[in-house]
Amino acid sequence: MHIPDGYLSPITIVTSYSIAIPLWIYGFKKLKKELNEETLPLIGGLSALSFIIMMFNIPIPGGTSGHAIGATLIALLFNPWIGFISVSLVLLIQAIIFGDGGISSLAVNSLSMAFIGSFIGYYTFKIIKNKKIAPFIAGWSGIVASSLFIAIILGIQPFWSENGKPLYFPFGLTITIPAIVGSHLLFFGIIEGIFTNFIFKKVQNENR
């Protein structure tokens, strides 16, 4: 999910930005190095793919919905730093232009969906790459790890309260982990896995 503004305590916001900013700077340098006339259309196309796949909201039992992300796919086709920066750019555009996800929560959203999604997916793939369904497992692990991070960050927010009333996101870990991680384990992880596996195999050049 894209955490909106107002859901996170100031300490969470400051901490998340102080972790994300150096990673963005380093990743940006990696992107700059990788970028040329030949890679630009591909990185752009994959980022657009991530943007568009996130618009496919899929309903699940229980009255909520979710979507694939595509970070692992970019990590597998390029490298995890490109996945991280591309999906961060997508999240920035979603936040500013479309009000999807907050500005104060952009660092947490990027660390979750872009950074963790890319790196967990990428290294899972490295370990099992000889398996036929490695891209599926990679995509599934990436998004499940992202969801776990979001669930933990949201679940610790009730710690900040006033007169016993939570100031920010009001539900603790015992609610966020089953709700968010559970739905990704069972549904959105499968969707991300199928998406990653299908596109990963589809877009590669066979006659190389």
């Binding site: 909106p4 107002g6 657009a48 793919l49 618009m55 979710g66 591309s86 479309f98 009333k165 968010i180």
Partner: protein, 99 residues
């Protein structure tokens, strides 16, 4: 690793055509609720959420259900992605020339 540019763009195009499918559900993502939902669930809206400072987006919620604006949103998003990448490439090149 070689990515087939043509296949990538065909995939993008097909997904683009199918975009209205993304509007089928009215369900929001878990936790991405309107403030009123909190009032119903826990009896109050947490102060931070009620008083959240945020920007006014250009196209709130990708057009709030309009298929045409949904398509436009995907086009605008993609254009901004490419413009950003072109700008980065240009900066990189101009820097290389002055070096």
């Amino acid at each position: 690793m070689k990515i087939d540019r043509k296949k990538l763009f065909i995939t993008l195009f097909i997904l683009f055509i199918l975009l209205p499918l993304g509007l089928i559900t009215e369900y929001s993502a878990w936790g991405e609720w309107d403030n009123e939902v909190y009032k119903k669930m826990i009896g109050f809206i947490p102060k931070g959420i009620a008083e959240a400072k945020t920007i006014t987006p250009l196209i709130p919620d990708y057009g709030e259900g309009s298929i045409i604006i949904y398509y436009l949103s995907a086009i605008i998003g993609s254009i901004i992605i490419y413009l950003t990448l072109f700008t980065i490439l240009k900066l990189k090149k101009s820097k290389n020339e002055t070096d």
